[in-house]
Symmetry: C2
Subunit: 140 residues, 2 copies
Amino acid sequence: MDEKDMKILEILMKDGRKSYTEIAKILETSETSVRKRIKRMEEEGIIKGYKAEIDPAKIGYNVVALTGFDTNPEDFLSVARKLCEFEEVKKVWTSTGDHMIMTEIWARDGKELSEILFDKLGKIKGIKKICPAIILEQLK
Amino acid sequence: MDEKDMKILEILMKDGRKSYTEIAKILETSETSVRKRIKRMEEEGIIKGYKAEIDPAKIGYNVVALTGFDTNPEDFLSVARKLCEFEEVKKVWTSTGDHMIMTEIWARDGKELSEILFDKLGKIKGIKKICPAIILEQLK
DNA sequence: TTTGAAAATTGGCCTAA
DNA sequence: TTAGGCCAATTTTCAAA
């Protein structure tokens, strides 16, 4: 990890499809150098992958909620792992603060969110409290 | 937006660098069809962009915090916009729930997080309360 | 670092539904 | 009018020298 690696990452964080050639042009180096650095960073897990960013509302997911889950301490990890298995649950973090588990959940509308939270996820053993915060807008 | 578009999106959400050719092979269709659909979805803003996913800890950002901000109602939007300007603030959402503004903030260590939150961001006019939750692990 | 072949991208033009 | 087939030119990728 040097200066050059860092610059490559900055570029790829903004545009994950930028070609090796273009990156090389920006850094004033060779395509080979850039490619080998990226390959290495992928292998080392520095670059975990590449994702297309989708606008959920434009494909019918009009309700996205940051949702905290509180659990009994002993069920904490099993609940977190279980949450990962659901397609609707796009992100799962364990964290300090108000809630031990934080998630991002996509739903088509409020009714569907309610079903996901309270019918599907609410049945997971060990959950004591569900705290949804509906996202109004993603500014960044 | 039909079935085929949806399948393309699912693939690109998992691997944003997959080539048109490969996607076409998976869907058993032509490269042209895939390419034109992706172009259209990019133009319509369904696909907002492509991003490399970086492991923050592996590049020295050992402390990532989901941080809620409370503001006076009249300063709400200006604070949210201001937060977007900081390099350390990777994501900004406005939301219902406990906090009107939620963010994801990267720092090298606890000391740096403290400086970012209370020296830099804390000075933004209108902020009433800062509620950081340090991420222990991103499971999904 | 350079070189060259294979693969992917891109644009234009065309047809069919 | 739109989705997609076809072809040709260019660019990118990737491995070997």
